[in-house]
């Protein structure tokens, strides 16, 4: 029997099964998508397919995973890794080299391959993954999408028969998704099997042979409907903001030599939901970090609620501006959910009741005593939002809150954002998700190469194919033809 067969797989970390009696199989040359909300057990499944469970991560396992007819659980990790390798969810930890070529070579050196063979495979990988230009680049200089491509290259160069990718799309912009699609196609053509576990498969559908839905630990084959271009939903009523709260005049900014922001001028008003969009590395995060004083303009000025941010600190600005960071894993720092939620309140001398309400509105109150690491990705994002809400800010900045979120979390975010707007507050959202921006924002600002490229109402930008193409934005479902996994 060729390929991987999962038969009656059940996994339990000790407090109830995470995976319940899973059955599926995959052969070489096939790509399978497994879609599910955060916390549904995708990482657990990925670990089972690669032998990390039960070899390195303790877990009660029933059923079996067969690799070419032999039980995968009875093989050593090295044996399995030779055939099935993984691109992890936090793939940055998998990067060992300080430059691209060093990283690609690391595993090959460990295998003790002869020099010429390593040289050959290195050149092959650089060429196949379009990394030739970056071979001497430091990893820290690469965008998230490129880093991920390096990890995939470093994995594939070891020639596994199967590649498991745990949530590969969450940090990718549209360009990155398209490049991942090409990678999957290429792996298939080399007769390798690919398993993609993700929260959404937008942009990848055409290279996947089968799609399964993993929900509450159960797996079922999804019926994927692909509808024609649907009519645009009647857009929500756009609001026009009140008085201006953020005034950016001729802002230039650089970290080192090159300017990341170039002559940006804009005004953002109260009672307005603004989506900041643009591909990775265009300067979106750099721009919004000026709004709470984390960064200071190199040239030009940024005034927030009349205060010049060059003359104040982020801690001072915290009274008025709350910032929810991208990548909650890195920014959640306290030992319990409650401590995390109340951190800002305590610093600002606000009543702790605020934090309680915020947790409740994010549906996390009953988890207040839990350690944050036990939360799913979506819950972590909600916790970060709760912690910011508790400070009762006038301006609310969300940096990529939508990346890889499931629908439930998106809905919760939307409700909070609209509630804040109704209270006359300003909400600024950095996002790649065109559907989300179209649904909830009053205004879209596209940042491209460090400049404000367009600034208009969402429909004008996100339903205009020419602009989408020019600024490398993800087309909304209304234009793509809907890819919906039936519920």
């Amino acid at each position: 029997m060729e390929g991987i067969q999962v038969r009656g797989l059940t996994c339990d970390y000790g407090d109830g099964p995470v995976l319940k009696n899973l059955f599926f199989s995959i052969s070489r040359g096939e790509a399978v998508g497994i879609v599910g909300p955060s916390g549904c057990g995708k990482t657990t499944l990925a670990y089972c397919l690669t032998g990390i469970i039960p070899k390195r991560v303790k877990c009660e396992v029933e059923g079996e995973v067969l690799l070419d007819g032999e039980s995968l659980f009875e093989k050593s990790l090295t044996e399995v890794t030779g055939k099935v390798n993984i691109v992890m969810q936090n793939y940055e930890i998998q990067i060992f080299g300080l430059t691209v070529e060093e990283d690609i070579v690391f595993g090959l050196e460990n295998l003790g391959l002869p020099l010429e063979e390593i040289g050959k495979r290195l050149e092959w990988a650089l060429k196949t993954f379009n990394l030739e230009k970056y071979r001497h680049y430091r990893i820290s200089e690469l965008s998230g999408g490129l880093k991920q491509r390096v990890v995939v290259a470093s994995t594939v160069v070891l020639r596994p028969d199967f590649v498991v990718m745990d949530d590969p799309t969450s940090n990718l912009d549209w360009r990155g998704v398209k490049s991942l699609r090409d990678t999957v196609r290429m792996l298939k053509s080399q007769n390798r099997g690919v398993v993609i576990l993700a929260r959404r498969i937008k942009g990848l559908r055409e290279v996947l042979d089968r799609v399964y839905v993993l929900e509450e630990g159960r797996l079922r084959e999804a019926e994927v409907r692909e509808t024609e271009n649907t009519a645009v939903r009647t857009p929500a009523k756009r609001r026009v903001g009140g008085e201006s709260v953020i005034e950016v005049e001729n802002l230039w900014f650089r970290y080192l030599q090159e300017y990341v922001l170039r002559d940006v001028s804009l005004r953002i008003n109260s009672g307005e939901v603004v989506a900041i969009m643009g591909p990775n590395g265009s300067g979106k995060t750099t721009l919004v970090k000026h709004f709470n004083g984390l960064l200071k303009p190199t040239k030009g000025s940024v005034k927030v609620l009349g205060v010049d941010v060059s003359k104040t600190t982020a801690a001072q600005m915290a009274k008025h501006v709350a910032f929810v960071f991208q990548d909650p894993d890195r920014h959640i720092t306290c030992n319990t959910v409650w401590e995390e939620a109340v951190f800002g309140c305590r610093n600002l001398g606000l009543p702790e009741e605020n934090a309680k309400q915020a947790l409740a509105s994010m549906g996390l109150l009953e988890k207040a005593d839990r350690p944050p690491y036990s939360l799913s990705m979506g819950e972590k994002t909600r916790l970060s939002i709760a912690s910011a809400l508790a400070m009762n800010p006038r301006i609310f900045i969300l940096d990529e809150p939508t990346t890889g979120q499931d629908r439930e979390t998106l809905r919760v975010i939307r409700d909070v954002v609209w509630k804040l707007r109704d209270e006359g507050k300003t909400v600024i959202i950095v996002t790649h998700d065109s559907d989300f921006a179209l649904e909830i924002s009053d205004r879209v600002i596209v940042v491209y190469n460090g400049e404000v490229a367009v600034d208009s109402i969402p429909e004008d930008i996100l339903l205009n194919e020419e602009l989408l193409e020019r600024y490398e934005l993800e087309p909304p479902e209304a234009l793509m033809g809907e890819v919906k996994v039936s519920e």
Binding site: E102, L294, R330
Partner: protein, 245 residues
């Protein structure tokens, strides 16, 4: 990548150049010699693509230089190197020591920024450092990068929620940093655990034989630089230690 890497100076030569510069700087008593080392180091710095970082580093150190100038000018009599008589204030000694300090910083920064960790590890291991040690060194260097990223992220998260870091008395300031440093430690340990797993997935083990793909090779230019360095150190030693030349 710096143009120094593009010129592919052998990392062993870089280590030698660093060591030689330091030797000369500490042995000499002449401002001209210091100036020569300083000028060489500046040329290398300017030629490298890392000049922005190097000069930024120098700028950060400026206040320390001023302090050095004042302290050496006024307190030199209490130093280990004291051997002249005098009134207790000597701007020449102060200026010399401050300049020496500046040269040391410039040389070090230039060395650090133009030598990648891989080169450093490669250089040291080809000079006979055992693999285990060079591996640990390489991993720690890599860890510095991750840790500094983590540090920045945590600091941003905390200050954005009203945590004042650089305010108040020294003791208060140190206390302020606790909410930044503690999570950083926890994070580092977690990262270390994941790192072990990730290394296994790349077939790493200490036992098996491992190919070394990047091996430094000495070129003619490298030998020429080495020869020049040796001559400079020899001259310095002969002049200042043995008083021969």
């Amino acid at each position: 990548m710096s143009s120094l890497h593009a010129l592919t100076v052998d990392p062993r030569v870089k280590v030698a150049a660093f060591a030689a510069s330091m030797a000369v700087v500490f042995l000499c008593h002449d401002i001209y010699v210091l100036a020569a080392v300083f000028a060489t180091s500046l040329v290398v710095a300017v030629l490298s693509q890392e000049r922005a970082r190097i000069f930024k580093g120098l700028k950060v150190m400026l206040p320390a230089l001023v302090v050095a100038l004042i302290l050496w000018s006024t307190l030199y009599r209490f130093s280990l190197f004291y051997k002249y008589g005098g009134t207790g204030f000597n701007i020449y000694v102060g200026a010399f020591m401050a300049f020496r300090f500046l040269v040391i910083i410039t040389v070090s920064l230039t060395f650090i920024y133009t030598t990648t960790p891989r080169e450093l590890v490669a250089a040291l291991s080809s000079m006979g450092l055992p693999y285990r040690v060079s591996l640990i060194l390489g991993l720690s260097l890599r860890h510095v990068h991750t840790t500094s990223d983590e540090y920045r992220a945590i600091k941003e998260a905390q200050t954005s929620r009203g945590l004042e870091l650089d305010r108040g008395l020294l003791i208060t300031r140190i206390k302020n940093y606790i909410p930044v440093v503690l999570p950083l430690l926890v994070r580092s340990i977690e990262n270390a655990e994941r790192l072990v797993l990730a290394m296994e997935l790349r077939f790493f083990s200490l036992k098996g034989k491992r190919t070394k793909f990047f091996r430094p090779k000495m070129s003619g230019v490298d030998y020429a630089i080495l020869a020049a360095l040796a001559a400079a150190v020899a001259l310095t030693v002969l002049h200042y230690v043995f008083r021969v030349v």
